[in-house]
Assembly symmetry: C2
Homo-oligomer: 194 residues x 2
């Protein structure tokens, strides 16, 4: 998605060979018009997938998810993060290890808002090593729902998460796929022509 | 706002005389179409206020804020919550006491995304005792920015936060103002005709 790639090039900050900061428009300050375009793009890509629900993770997943939900005419639910694993009856929960923050969070969704009748599109801001994605898949599976695939705003294509999921036959749609952040420069993978 | 009040009546759950749960459309699952209407309403009410930035608090403030930002054509920034007060140079921080969760969080905004040139609209999902509102005001003040007022989705009008802020001359626009939750029933305050 060209507008997104231009925004990353212009306003993203490469902090190291593995860390890209997009606090200017996605993770702290939010460009709502860009989020709407992102929502339109995900809605277009998944329009024939029979999506009934969009699942995401607080907090940075919420803005792109709510715009996708608006464009697809379905509800979105955000998983909450907590420090400790507390088993609660009315929740589906999974553990997610964050390598950047060196901590493990529990993520959870109320059983009321995801069911075996749902076909779920998971949206997230980043896909890197895939730990959050696995946690969200675990929740979809616990609910007996169908996973249609992942809509990712920025994939760190130089980390293994995306390709490991693709190898398992899972559909991943990344709007910007980063090949490398070497020497402070963002290089994108070539997009497959649509 | 009638659509919102109907939604609260139909899908809100009164858990006690002080607790209203709106996980079905605002705090966990999100009704994106309703959020867009909320954004339109805030944009209409504050259209002459010269707003340059919308400030909110993760996570439940993000959806209404991003829709208001879309309708007003300005960026939104969400304050992050953390458990401990860690003084960091590039952040404006404030403490917020949560009475429901019995804990104190630090909320913070990067100094990059709010400045003395900004006229700020603060958006939040709930206004009850006003602790979060005071924390957000503190941050606006630290930045030397101008506070235009608060856009609140649901005010608990039977708690003191809203009226204490109004007494200080602060503009509060609440889209639904709850007079009481007694006997499991949601009673709204009468809206002033516009």
């Amino acid at each position: 998605m060209e507008t997104l790639k231009n925004k990353i090039t212009q306003e993203g900050k490469v902090l190291s060979d593995t860390v890209l900061k997009v606090d200017a428009f996605l993770n702290h300050q939010i460009d709502a018009e860009l989020m709407l375009e992102i929502g339109e793009e995900f809605a277009k890509r998944f329009k024939d997938a029979g999506i009934t629900k969009i699942l995401t993770l607080e907090s940075s997943g919420i803005a792109p998810s709510v715009m996708t939900a608006l464009k697809m005419g379905v509800p979105t639910v955000f998983a909450r993060k907590r420090k400790s694993l507390t088993l609660i009856d009315h929740l589906y929960s999974a553990e997610v290890r964050s390598y950047t923050k060196q901590e493990t969070n529990e993520i959870s969704i109320s059983k009321e808002y995801i069911s075996s009748n749902d076909t779920v599109l998971v949206i997230d801001d980043f896909l890197a090593n895939g730990q959050a994605a696995l946690g969200l898949m675990d929740i979809v599976s616990q609910a007996g729902a169908t996973l249609a695939g992942f809509g990712i705003v920025i994939e760190k294509g130089f980390q293994e998460g995306g390709d490991e999921l693709r190898k398992r036959g899972i559909r991943i749609e990344s709007l910007a796929n980063i090949a490398s952040l070497t020497d402070g420069e963002v290089m994108f993978k070539e997009e497959v022509a649509r």
